[in-house]
């Protein structure tokens, strides 16, 4: 039974501008299927994005969408969530947008553990601006700014999010569309900050410089590096070098933090903010 993507898309903007075979399309489809799985009303969802290839996605989705400044998507999303706690806020971000330009916003959104879902599409490069190396370009691979090979160690976005305090972190690759759908649905269901990293192919910018200039070989390269997390636990650090660990890194409900009144446990950041707002309004009346 085919899925009706038309329901969630601005069809006058399709075909999209992404390169032929780009992994972002696969991730976007997985996300739309997850929205359908959740049964959300389109008016209750806000899709927020920054700048970059990945961040073009909300332009094609027929919901409340916001295309913001570079790296600041999470800041705008936090504002939306605090103003409208009942709405579902989803941030669609690239690896440069989330971990380089917006790295600070990323770790602090994780720390606050606010009820937002962040989908990071990691394509190992800055695709839109000409293939410069990003914080996730693997060591030894070429980019337009590292023509003799990259020497910078990479960020592991999942471990970074987990350490910063996100309460749901998972990773899947574009080769596993169903797995992506499953994790994004779990992220939507989760109360607290959830990060889903989708490793995607960028054969046009990253692949062209690393002998995989067509989508098939770029996808094969990703597939050859995939390791499930259960298998990875028994492996040595050296064996896991240059591998993509897929699976759920952390999945726990946020700890109840008792604040001011022990009869009212606060589960989540928006609730705490609501409490502060009520307190401030009560003070104004006096």
């Amino acid at each position: 039974m085919a899925f009706e993507y038309e329901k969630y898309l601005r069809m006058d903007k399709i075909p999209h501008l992404w390169c032929p075979g780009c992994g972002i399309g696969v991730v976007l489809k997985a996300m739309l299927r997850s929205v359908e799985n959740m049964g959300w009303d389109k008016n209750d969802i806000a899709f927020v994005s920054g700048i970059g290839c990945t961040s073009r996605a909300p332009g094609y989705i027929d919901c409340n969408t916001l295309h913001t400044t570079h790296g600041r998507a999470l800041s705008f999303a936090t504002g939306i969530k605090l103003a409208q706690p009942a709405k579902h806020v989803v941030v669609f971000s690239g690896d440069g947008d989330a971990t380089a330009i917006g790295g600070n916003h990323f770790i602090h959104a994780c720390r606050r553990n606010i009820d937002i879902t962040l989908v990071v599409v990691n394509n190992n490069t800055y695709g839109m601006t000409g293939g410069q190396h990003s914080p996730t370009t693997p060591i030894g691979y070429k980019a337009s700014t590292t023509i003799y090979g990259n020497i910078d160690p990479t960020f592991d976005i999942c471990l970074l999010a987990k350490a910063a305090g996100a309460s749901y972190v998972a990773r899947a690759t574009v080769n596993k569309g169903k797995m992506l759908e499953k994790y994004i649905t779990k992220g939507f269901e989760h109360k607290g900050f959830s990060v889903i990293v989708a490793t995607a192919n960028c054969h046009t910018q990253f692949g062209r410089k690393n002998k995989m200039s067509d989508p098939i070989s770029a996808r094969k390269w990703i597939e050859s590096r995939e390791i499930p997390i259960d298998k990875a636990r028994n492996m040595k650090a050296l064996e896991l070098n240059d591998k993509i660990i897929t699976g759920e890194f952390i999945s726990e409900e946020p700890e109840q933090t008792y604040w001011e009144n022990y009869n009212h446990p606060i589960h989540e950041y928006t609730e705490a903010y609501q409490r502060i707002r009520e307190k401030a309004q009560a003070q104004d009346k006096h």
Binding site: M1, A2, F3, E4, Y5, E6, L9, I14, P15, H16, W18, C19, P20, G21, C22, G23, I24, G25, V26, K29, A30, V174, G177, K178, D214, P215, I216, R219
Partner: protein, 91 residues
């Protein structure tokens, strides 16, 4: 068939009666040629080689795909899930 088939007008169609295991079924494959960018992912992911690449001079890389034999389809939906351009519909 109980399933409602909702393929838009501009989609090309291939239909066939298929047998999955012992179950009799019917498949309708919809394909939007104008939206297709000819990346060839559907040809790569299909386990039954339902899709093939053909020459098309109006496309950027001179290729699009077409269905070789819809009767080979097993409705695994891999091509539909992995098509980045919303071009394939399997009913």
């Amino acid at each position: 068939m109980s399933e409602k088939i909702n393929i838009p007008e501009h989609y090309g169609r291939w239909e066939a009666d298929i047998t999955i295991g012992k179950k009799e079924d019917h498949v309708t494959i919809g394909y939007w040629r104008d939206g297709c960018k000819g990346c060839g992912i559907c040809v790569d992911v299909c386990p039954k080689k339902v899709w093939e690449i053909i020459e098309a001079k109006d496309k950027w890389n001179g290729q699009v795909v077409q269905v070789t034999d819809a009767a080979k389809c097993i409705k695994c939906m891999l091509c539909e899930i992995h098509c980045p351009d919303f071009c394939i519909k399997i009913y």
